[in-house]
């Protein structure tokens, strides 16, 4: 292939090598490091003038650092007269509002009690979104002392899983507050999706390639072409080849939001479908939510499908519900396995038999820590997509699962 250069960022160098290998080109030489004051340093070691540049960087690990690195690399290539710069971002950062436990009044939790951990019960109530929870009168987390905030949380497992949260509180600086306004104002968490899209465009990206965006509407935030590849064909291939008696399995969606995704797979495989509704509100207990299984799973092999597993609270809880309802075996197929905090330990102790993940995020460490994880590679899909894009051919075939059997 001529006039093409592939650079790998520091988030997932192995994937970049695999993609380059599949395409028969060698990876472009770039040196990525940090200055002593933690600024990112990018030095591109070969000419990119009039070439098509593909930069492979996943939104994982230290997200902000990797994202800045990606932006600086795009900008460097653009001002070095590259013909076209494509950002290949298998796991897109800031694509969704992550699972941060909220207090009853809808505020994000800011401090966790470390001394209450008694083991994973997988019983924790799910996160109540801000949109549906009314704000308690008089409770203003910005003025509350940190030690009181921890007690608001229902159980300890949720609390423990966010031990990584850091809390910057600027209330120490001011005593005069706008308490007159707090009754009418509801706190809200900023959504960064459009900002990230705009930053990528302003850095100079001409094309974005990603996989299984959490929100397909994200493509609309960009003015440049976005190829949202599907992991679905690879998942179907894995199920057909590796899960015994898949023909009589049940595809389960661990939450109501993913129902569409799961039904698509269920239809392609021509198997049955079930759903777990995790936010069922009971009339007399409006602040506690319950898990509800919709469908039949007794004596069946259950295959849970989800796009992102971050804290793994969702899938481990869902697995418990499935086993309680008589499931024979529980698999989980996840596209982006972020596995932050103690997610791996949760999975090891949960009722899931196998977790199958893609390598959009480096999984080498997770494989060592957890025996239940299996990985399917996405480099073939991306390499094929890059080849077609570079040659100006249609990419539609990649959305068809029959073609994927050849990959």
């Amino acid at each position: 292939m001529r006039n093409i250069i592939i650079f790998g960022g520091s988030s997932h160098p192995k994937l970049a090598e695999q993609i380059a290998g599949r395409l028969g080109v060698s990876l472009g030489r770039v040196e990525l490091s940090k200055f002593s004051n933690k600024e990112t340093n990018v030095e591109i070691r070969e000419s990119v003038r009039e070439k098509d540049v593909y930069i492979v960087q996943s939104g994982c690990g230290h997200v902000n650092d990797n994202f800045m690195e990606l932006l600086i690399m795009i900008s460097a290539c653009k001002i070095a007269s590259a013909a076209k710069v494509t950002a290949v971002i298998p796991c897109f950062p800031y694509a969704r509002q992550p699972d941060a436990p909220y207090k009853r009044n809808g505020e994000p939790l800011s401090r966790i009690p470390r001394d209450k951990f008694l083991g994973y019960t997988f019983d924790t109530p799910p996160n109540l979104s801000t949109a549906t929870t009314p704000m308690d009168e008089g409770k203003d987390p910005f003025n509350a002392t940190s030690s009181k905030i921890g007690e608001e949380n229902s159980t300890c497992s949720d609390a423990d899983s966010i031990n990584e949260l850091r809390h910057y509180n600027s209330t120490m600086m001011s005593s005069s507050s706008s308490s007159g306004k707090s009754g009418a104002y509801r706190h809200w968490v900023a959504r960064s999706g459009t900002l990230i899209a705009n930053l990528l465009t302003c850095a100079g990206a001409d094309h974005i390639m990603t996989m299984d965006l959490h929100d397909p509407q994200f493509q609309g935030y960009f003015d440049v072409p976005v190829d949202n590849l599907y992991g679905l064909p690879l998942m179907i291939k894995y199920i057909r080849e590796n899960i015994p008696s898949w023909e009589s399995a049940v595809i389960v969606s661990p939450d109501a939001g993913g129902a569409k995704r799961a039904t698509a797979i269920a239809d392609k495989l021509r198997v049955e479908f079930a759903l777990i509704h995790k936010e069922r509100r009971l009339q007399h207990k409006p602040h506690k939510a319950d898990m509800m299984l919709v469908g039949q799973v007794r004596d069946k092999v259950c295959i849970m499908i989800d796009d992102i597993a971050d804290t793994s609270i969702t899938i481990t809880r869902a697995a418990k519900v499935l086993v309680e309802n008589g499931a024979k075996k529980v698999y989980a197929i996840i596209t982006h396995a972020i596995m932050s905090g103690d997610a791996i330990k949760r999975i090891q102790q949960s009722a899931i038999d196998q977790v199958i993940v893609s390598d959009s995020i480096p999984q080498d460490e997770h494989l060592v820590q957890c025996s239940k994880i299996k990985v399917f590679e996405i480099a073939p899909i991306f390499a094929e997509a890059i080849r077609r894009v570079h040659n100006g051919e249609s990419v539609s075939a990649l959305f068809n699962d029959r073609t994927m059997l050849l990959v």
Binding site: F35, S36, N37, K38, E39, T40, I44, S47, C60, H62, V63, N64, D65, M68, L71, I72, M73, S75, A76, I79, A80, P93, P98, D99, A100, E107, P108, S110, P141, F142, S161, I162, E164, L165, Y168, S170, M173, S174, S175, S176, S177, S178, K181, S182, Y185, H187, W188, V189, A190, S192, L195, N198, L199, C202, A203, D310, T311, I338, S340, G341
Partner: protein, 316 residues
């Protein structure tokens, strides 16, 4: 029409800032999720307000930069009237030119990112190169530390009338001569002779420092290798004492050890970058408080008054 101040990660300056402003700092919570993404919650309504967001490019620079961008964007989508980013130490300011093949001009990228996020105005202190103002299409107020530095020299350095201002490299000559002229003092320059890249082999002093107090003036002190070699050269050439006054004290890596082992009498930095922890282990560090200048600039910007006063006077 009131002003809301959002101060994040401004450990030292913020306290001083509030002393002279009518409104207190507004509330914002910044968290990091388990997957390392940043989350910002704005604690009060900013609709139709004049918002100032104070964030310095120090510490975990990429994280702080993303925090700043997300805060600006959050305020923009919350219908703020005007958003000013107050960035005392501008991040990536040193990557401002394409000095070798395929080098990124990251300062330009940062400028674009700030605009795209929604900043309408930028206030910064002692930009590494004042041409960086040209990277923006929005107004940029590049405030100077010079008046504060002059005040410090006049009040805190004994025998300053017999001092000599030294620039540790050729690039900073203009900055140093400006201070020397205002104080009516002599000027000297240190020239780095490089035999190999990234290795300073010899420092040549241009000017006479014999029997004088030498005051080295620079805009940034990062690893402090240059400063300590300059101090040694000055002492060898007969300076009685060597002071260093620097606008941005980044002091990364082994800087503190280098300072402690050098012949510097004192290293004076402004508080554009918080350095309380470094002061605890290095007795040679002294601080110039720059928050009155910033607070005055914010007040004047908000009230629509001229900021020129600050270019030649250091407010109390």
């Amino acid at each position: 029409m009131s002003t809301s101040f959002k101060g994040v990660q401004w450990a030292i300056g913020g306290k001083h800032e509030n002393r002279r402003d009518t409104e207190g700092s507004a509330k914002v919570i910044v968290l990091k999720y388990t997957n390392q993404e940043t989350s910002v919650t704005i604690g009060e309504s900013v609709r139709d307000e004049d918002v100032f967001i104070i964030q310095s490019g120090c510490g975990e620079i990429n994280d702080n930069l993303m925090e700043l961008l997300i805060m600006i964007n959050a305020c923009k989508t919350a219908s703020a009237r005007r958003i000013t980013a107050v960035i005392p130490c501008f991040p990536y300011a040193r990557q401002d030119k394409k000095d070798k093949s395929r080098a990124p001009i990251t300062a330009k990228l940062v400028a674009n990112m700030l605009i795209v996020a929604g900043a309408n105005h930028v206030i910064t202190v002692d930009l590494h190169a004042s041409q960086i103002q040209g990277f923006f299409n929005v107004p940029v107020d590049n405030l100077y530390c010079e008046p504060s530095m002059l005040k410090y020299i006049r009040t805190k350095i004994p025998n300053w009338t017999n001092a000599i201002i030294v620039s540790p490299d050729a690039g900073g000559a203009k900055r140093a001569t400006s201070i020397a002229d205002r104080l009516n003092l002599d000027f000297a320059l240190i020239h780095k002779e490089r035999k190999r890249a990234n290795e300073v082999s010899r420092m040549v002093l241009v000017g006479d420092v014999r029997g004088k107090v030498a005051i080295v003036v620079d805009d940034m002190a990062d690893t402090c290798g240059t400063l300590s070699m300059a101090a040694k050269t000055l002492k060898e050439n007969g300076a009685t004492k060597v002071y260093a006054i620097v606008a941005h004290g980044i002091l990364s890596g082994k800087a503190i050890d280098v300072i402690n082992n050098s012949v510097l009498e004192k290293l004076v930095v402004t508080n554009t970058i918080p350095h309380e922890d470094k002061k605890a282990i290095c007795k040679k560090i002294d601080t110039i408080d720059i928050s009155p200048t910033l607070a005055e600039a914010i007040r004047r910007t908000h009230n629509g008054e001229s900021v020129s006063f600050l270019f030649s006077h250091a407010p109390e």
